[in-house]
Amino acid sequence: MTMNKIKPGREVMVVGVGLHPFGRFQDKELGQLAIEAVLPALKDAGVKWKDIAIAYFGHVYYQGMSIGETTLSKLGLTGVPIINVENACSSGSTAFWQAYWGITTGLYDLALAFGAEKVPRGPVTVTAEDAPERYIGGDHMMAGYALRGKRYMEETGAPASALAQVAVKARQNATMNPFAHRKDTYTIEEVLNSRMIADPLTLFQCCPTSEGGAAAVLCAREDLAKYGIDESRAVSIAAAVLTSGDYNGRGADHSAFSPYRTEPAALQAYEMSGLGPEDVNLVQVHDAATIGELQQLEALHLFPFGEAWQGTVEGRTTLTGDIPVNTDGGLLAMGHPFGASGIRMIHETVTQLRGEAGPRQVPNARVGVAQCSGAGDVTTVHILKRG
């Protein structure tokens, strides 16, 4: 990729966030999950739907054409452009990224990024019936993570218990989050003894597939007064970066990915924000499996490569550690409605930076990172900061 110098324009702030609880909601359609996240986000921002100038809707599973338009039509037909975004597990964070760029360039004042999903139960696959991958046996998200886990353990000497510690921490954080899909806690032994999915990953080390919705309202800082928005609760977007896979020397097989796709996106985000890993007070990363969290933290340069497992064992990633990770429970406890997860991370980061996270509040949180991955080696990295 020819790297263009990132030239943000106007400062953009997150001014409202909303979440529909994550879990299983058989009696609700996708649109309802979305609306029940959008309405609280608009209320939180203190803006009216008719003031929104553009909306981006992240979702993956096909729910009919123009589902974003169908969904938002219930709030009134305002003529607003609505864009449906599919970027695998990063669909929500990609919608947020687009909303940022729509505002910073000066095209729009107020934007809505939202996402929702009803993920079917069972292992997630990406290929169609009778596709070659079905016979090869590699089209299995958690098997892909397991391959990374096995290799990581071999290279770093990390014990299985270090991976399990990631899941234990996630569940502990989720006990303080009323929106979480899973709120019961486990011990390391219980994590290790849960049903084996793909060695070394046991069931409790794999995120549940879930349903849920998330929304964020974004506004240019210079326009806050125009819309009567309370600046004291607005959180600034210091960096918004989206990348896809670059050549990693390992060929075309979609599952043979490098664990460290995030690194180039992270470096761009640090450059764009003028901030570095040392400035980060809390981080949300893509912990679809326990090994994912460890490798994302390293790719974000929050730990040296091969050392995030030690930091985890030492408790540095807990709410009282020096770099709290997945403070709302992450994918491991929240579950993973693809279209919503990336914006759920924004929701948590904003809530923490506002100092409104209640019992799971990280003291003096000023800078937060939200990193989300998706099939196709998609990575988004957003850096938010208070004030």
Partner: protein
């Protein structure tokens, strides 16, 4: 009817009864990078100056997992070993590892490709599927 290649762009059969074959791909004449499977552009440098090449049957186990909960449509045994194997030319190839006890698996071990006939999901001739086996 003999089995057909599971993927004619990744596996070329080299005998009529589909018991031998070679992995195939492309090598870039500009930067030298190799790709497993189909390519029009080089994945590394985007050149279109590519040569179709045999990637052979040998590799080294880069990583592995024992899959206990299989993906939809998996036609084989459960559990099965999934191997991530690095070819001498660089690309990695995922496939089942067969004829290997779990406790004998070791990252870095040499493996070679063998073919096994697997019934087709939607009828028709069996598929010749590439698998890895310890050398």
């Amino acid at each position: 009817m003999p089995p057909v290649s599971i993927d004619s762009q990744r596996l070329r059969l080299t005998n009529d009864d589909a018991t031998t074959g070679t992995l195939i791909g492309f090598k870039c004449n500009e930067c030298g990078a190799s790709v497993f499977g189909p390519a029009i552009f080089c994945q590394k440098c985007t050149s279109t100056d590519l040569n179709a090449v045999d990637l052979g049957v040998q590799g080294i186990l880069f990583s592995y997992t024992i899959v206990r909960i299989p993906p939809a449509g998996w036609p084989g045994d459960i559990p099965y070993i999934l191997g991530q194997v690095e070819l001498p030319s660089g690309p990695q190839v995922l496939a089942e590892v067969i004829d290997c006890e779990h406790h004998d698996l070791k990252i870095g071990m040499a493996v070679h490709m063998v073919l096994r006939a697997v019934p087709a999901e939607n009828g028709g001739p069996d598929k010749a599927v590439y698998k890895w086996r310890p050398v």
